[in-house]
Symmetry: C2
């Protein structure tokens, strides 16, 4: 009966392109008066939020922004970046949220590579943008977020044209008809990763993926209706792990946190009866190590999603005392964020606290929207045995794997192979099928939840006149998890000091990426002349 | 940048056809030892269940069943029909679950119209199938479910070939590689609507729709991980409202109920710590009216989804005493089941119990997977005002609207118009945007030019202590054109007179809406338990 079943075509009533924009429409329709967004004294309900987003979208459209145009947002976790997740795609355009810690050169690269047509910038970050614009080929239109609660308010230019963000709202049109994607495969956002090779790569998300990311997160994290979510995770990271859209689908209440401090987090959790938040292990570590007078203990259970590095068992344990229940997840920018979770099994409850922490510290099993994750021998493509010993590469298949890297076919063809996305992360599979990472792709240093490419730092170091050879590896750090440590072989007769090289790095790239330690000496090499980073890593552990 | 964003194509790693079959793979991978299905003494965990489904799928494939082949299942709520929701599509085929109350002639119609290639039949229903096969053009292969716990075990034929269901399992191949749909728009199931008049229509679901139905139900019903679901709703109704797939996605535990009785329901809820179940208001009514010795009260909250008719406020109220929290939903077979829900608002908590019941008895607002629902003037297409008075037709748009009616282009073109699916249900919109059904189009009574909702009159009648069931239809009237006529089934041992009930109506609603006649007796019902108003209408014409 092939013909008859296949003779029932799609029509506008039974086929609608999946898009997370639908969530805002629904929550504003059904829960118009429910509190949506809180930031200090500012409060928007779902009706107000939709109205603001609609007005901004209309203002963007009036400026000629439309389908497949890139709009950059360089901002902290304030309502504006939350709104941008809706308003920019409502105009048909692509949201490009930029890491606030990036240096001017990288921002300039992103503007030109991503072809940013309009750039929304927090006033505090204006000096970085200004410097970036000195070298960019493209000059996007500038919109300034002038947050009254910002700590720093650098002077605004009188030689460059700009508008204020609130003007987009004020002069916007409430009756603007938003533009649903023509196709659910249409680009939704553009997220630059630091990458392993130094050059940032533009990871493109589509509407379908973000819709399904939301749905699968609700199922697998067991999210209830109307959660109260504290936005500690920067929204420029994988679109805030997709929770902008997820919390909207659930008509939750989102509390914005412009800058993190343990004291403020505890206060906000209490003041707003927060039920969920997220953070890299470094954040959890800071909570655990905060002065006792800043800490608060809650007699209810608060759900916390953590990602970026395996949380040390000690941190997991220490969270219990606050009432924080940790869900450890794993993902990459390329997979829209989390795609594995250390999903709890009933049997774990009978284990010791240490054992439980150990089990939970693994990366785990796939989320509901993830079709398949495996660990394979990259040479043969065969799955590794579930022996917790044999190392292979994590490969992923599913609808929350990126469209691809913008303008980089070569990079795409390297990661998309044999029906899989190759993560570059090395892992084992335990006897219960849970995946555990053994070694991040070895060049990456994860510091405070940020990926730092060792190759990029080496590239800067190599530019110093005295440096003969450079190798950067991760060094364990109590506060940041890992920090970069540089091993340097100086050129013959050349001289340089540790502080001189660190200063040089600070001047030539984002400050947070600079090595915290520099060690001078001969670099160990293999017979073929490759630097043995594994040995350097061991050395760094002893420092 | 249109070209660059659009130059990132779909590939097998980043685009996977949505299918509810993925849920079984995932739950069996992650929670293999968790209890999946319980039926009397039978117990299957997720690993066992997947293994059984895989074997059955392999047996079907070995019999030549493949893509777009129809496999019928004529069975009560036992594990076999649950498994069929996976095994049949795992072979690439289309599941056609048939209402167990249908007569042989209708079953024969379905076999021929749906081109059933294989027919899985509960032994108790064999006499119906046997009779049906006497007249069918097609003779599908027969598979008998021989349930040890069946009440009736009619003799099996010695003149017709058949196999037993368990043979499919036993001789199946555990290593069979299931066939994901080639396209998410591929047919998944075929559900014949009984309709209250005329020939049954074959409603075709696709994989995409059922996947999204699951996801949206989790979001909007606020389902947790690992629910314990009692399957009271027949799985032949809209595939059991999609909960076969939803409970699998959540790795829940499903308890099968072959035949409903209030006593058994209370016992199973207690024995298996049930957290969720569903049922038409008539089921709730039976629970409320069961002998007190059969009832149980629970000091925890059990979530109950009800659909099929607006639950009388009184029934909603009475459920509270058992610990049953009712979510009233609305949908049609054509919309995969529920697409509206009487989603609770915070403000309702301050209302009286009666007022709350009244608010909850409305059909409500759309589910998360439903793109749009409106009430429009079918002539002009304009939305009705939110005045709770102006009647229009409910129209629906979304990915859980059927592919179409099998082999019935004319019927398709009648319901798919102007970008909407036309439901045939008449409703108003209240001032909070909640939709309330006033009647099926054909059930509305037009008296002296006024539209009178039969549902409204029935709602009043249900509040009378003696009324068990009530149905109101139009009766021809020389003066008014039509007037309401009520058909009443009294509760056991209860008494009431015609004038008493008419008086009761006069006191409780607009006088002109009162029934002019009341007829006592048993109400005629369809196989699905719907009151056959067409027969009552015929009766009323003779009065």
């Amino acid at each position: 009966m092939t013909i008859e079943y296949d003779q029932l075509p799609q029509n506008p009533a039974n086929f609608v392109a999946l898009t997370p924009l639908s969530f805002l429409q629904r929550s504003a329709d059904i829960y118009p008066r429910r509190e949506a967004l809180i930031y200090n004294k500012r409060r928007y309900n779902w009706s107000q939020l939709r109205s603001r987003c609609t007005r901004i979208a209309s203002s963007l459209a009036a400026r000629g922004i439309g389908k497949n145009d890139t709009v950059s947002v360089f901002a902290f976790n304030t309502p504006e970046i939350f709104e941008s997740h809706f308003s920019i795609p409502m105009a048909g355009a692509v949201l490009n949220a930029i890491n606030t810690r990036l240096d001017a050169a990288t921002v300039a690269f992103i503007i030109d590579h991503g072809e940013s047509k309009l750039f929304i910038c927090d006033r505090q970050l204006w000096p970085v943008l200004r410097k970036a614009l000195e070298t960019t080929r493209l000059k996007p239109e500038i919109v300034i977020i002038d947050d009254a609660d910002a700590n720093e308010k650098p002077a605004l230019p009188d030689d460059i044209e700009y508008s204020f963000y609130e003007d987009l709202v004020e002069h916007g049109d409430d009756s603007f008809v938003w533009r649903p994607p023509e196709d659910e495969w249409q680009a939704l956002s553009l997220n630059y990763t630091s990458g392993t090779t130094g050059q940032p790569r533009g990871v493109v998300y589509h509407h379908r993926g973000s819709y399904l990311m939301t749905m699968g997160t609700v199922v697998s994290w067991g999210l209830p209706l109307h959660p109260r979510y504290l936005y500690t995770v920067p929204m420029f990271h994988c679109n805030g792990w997709g929770h902008v859209w997820t919390m909207t689908a659930l008509a939750g209440t989102v509390v914005c946190m412009r800058a993190f401090s343990p004291k403020l987090l505890f206060e906000l959790v209490e003041e707003h009866a927060i039920t969920h938040f997220g953070g890299a292990p470094v954040i959890l570590n800071m909570l655990a190590n905060a002065p006792e007078s800043d800490q608060k203990r809650f007699d209810r259970s608060i759900q916390v999603m953590t990602a970026g590095a395996p949380p040390p068992a000690k941190v997991l344990e220490s969270m219990n005392q606050f009432g924080f229940e940790i869900m450890h997840v794993y993902g990459l920018t390329e997979s829209y964020g989390h795609i594995l979770q250390s999903a709890a099994q009933d049997s774990w409850a009978q284990q010791s606290i240490e054992k439980q922490a150990e089990l939970k510290a693994r990366q785990g099993v796939r989320f509901a929207m993830t079709e398949a994750v495996d660990v394979i021998d990259p040479e043969t493509g065969a799955s590794v045995p579930w022996d917790a010993e044999t190392i292979g590469e994590i490969v992923i298949r599913g609808n929350t794997v990126m469209k691809g890297y913008l303008k980089d076919e070569e990079a795409c063809s390297k990661v998309f192979k044999d029906g899989w996305f190759f993560s570059g992360d090395l892992a084992v599979v335990c006897d219960d099928g849970y995946i555990q990472i053994k070694d991040r792709a070895k060049d990456i240093i994860i510091s405070g939840g940020e990926n730092i490419s060792s190759v990029e730092i080496e590239g800067v170091l190599y530019r110093h006149a005295a440096v003969g050879e450079a190798a950067v590896v991760a060094m364990p750090d109590e506060k940041w998890g890992e920090v970069p440590c540089a091993f340097i072989e100086l050129k013959t007769n050349a001289e340089a000091t540790e502080s001189e090289l660190i200063e040089f790095c600070k001047e030539n790239m984002a400050r947070f990426k600079r090595p915290k330690k520099v060690v001078f000496g001969e670099l160990p090499k293999t017979a073929t002349g490759k630097i043995q980073k594994n040995l350097l890593r061991d050395t760094a552990k002893e420092l």
